[in-house]
């Protein structure tokens, strides 16, 4: 079985798996990383988004081979229970979800945005989250939460 190496949430990771398998399959399966959620399986909904380098990508249609030697960040790498990421605190403060199934992917899209653009406008947040679906209708709260997190990060 071929082996693929990459960095997962800052830790060197080596996995023996078919390199054509999806990153999501390997994360949730062999690696037991459950932050990214399986939604559509077709790169349409964003529930499985992870950060690859500086950008959010859907892990369900990212083949394992394509992340070789790259940095992959999942929700587990965003913050900890003791020190949550400002986005995680802001999503709690704004109560920015109903069912919450999509939130992991939305947090990753938002984190990638704030990495590239620390003080986005409301419009820029909406554009960055455009490819993340939330059928509960929590989008307005989510946009407010991302703006709140950006303000908090800027104030530090």
């Amino acid at each position: 079985m071929p082996s693929v190496r990459f960095r997962l949430n800052g830790a060197d990771t080596q996995i023996d798996a078919d390199p054509d398998r999806s990153l999501l399959d390997v994360l949730r399966g062999q690696l037991g990383v459950i932050g990214p959620h399986f939604g559509c399986g077709a790169g349409e909904c964003g529930a499985c988004n992870v950060i690859l380098g500086d950008h959010a990508v859907s892990a369900c249609d990212t083949p394992l081979w394509s992340v070789a030697d790259k940095d992959v960040t999942t929700l587990e790498g965003l913050g900890t229970d003791e020190q949550p990421h400002p986005l995680q605190r802001a999503f709690i403060a704004e109560q920015a979800m109903q069912c919450g199934y999509c939130v992991s992917g939305i947090l990753m899209s938002a984190a990638a945005l704030l990495k590239r653009n620390p003080s986005p406008t409301s419009r820029e947040v909406k554009e960055a989250l455009d490819r993340n679906l939330c059928r509960c209708g929590s989008q307005n709260r989510m946009v407010r939460a991302v703006l709140r997190a950006a303000e908090e990060m800027a104030a530090r």
Partner: protein, 314 residues
Amino acid sequence: MSQQASTSSPALPVSLAANPKLSAWLKFTSTGQVTVSPGKVEIGQGIVTALAQIAADELDIDLSRVQMIRASTATSPNEGVTSGSLSIQQSGRAMRHACAEVRRIFLQQAAERLGVDADALDIEDGTISGPGNVRTSYWELADEVSLDRDATPGVTPKSASRRALAGHSVQRIDIPDKVLGRPRFIHDQALAGMLHGRVLRPDNAGARLTGLKEDGARAMAGLVAIVRDGNFAGVVSETEHGAEAALNALRKGASWSDGEPLPDENDLAAFLKAQPVESTVINHKSTASSAAAARTIRVAKGTVISTWLTIMEK
């Protein structure tokens, strides 16, 4: 699980009538917590928080003392299905009544122990106190009060105006887990010996499985079984990935009859309207009804019909 027909004597809420034992709904721990067990499932609609608010309010305890137990078939009160926006109506009413009764039972026990009248006692965050600075608490009394008894009708919960938590916005108790990546969804649970399945489906409705070559699927790593029952076929594997791979192989070995085409997706409304329906009258108000009823039911004149459209699988 039908409501008692009698209107002269007060009836228990339906879920409580079906599961009358108070200890099935809540238990006190000696460490200052209350475990609350609804028979409805949190599926993202926020009911665990709402039910916790109802319980904490009725018991006069802080919300942080309430531990919500996830509904389980084996141990929770049987409240049937979680659907139809009925969780607060059914589980909430049962919880409110059960907690109000438990509160009264503890007050009676406290009154005996402290030698004061139960009506003279107050409860604040679980601490029961009364005149002369006498005090005890749910947690102190927990060992001497058995909740293995049936709920009784006639308990009066707090009036809406006296509720400090229910009806007011609080932070949802399930949200921190969801933003911190802790397991909250059934998809995130891995059980010991868990197997994964996938079902083979035809492209057309009503297609019959006329042939199935299993060799390709059998060669897949982790395969446990290929299941076939008439037109139904599926695979069971040790891993989700293995199940996907086996299903793909099985699909290549499957032959189907033509079946029937799906409805025109550009005119689904017409298709839906052409299907058989089952209608239930849930309220009919005639102009001849009494003035009192007219005041109570402020529904516009006419008939409210709940229509269920059933599309049978062929």
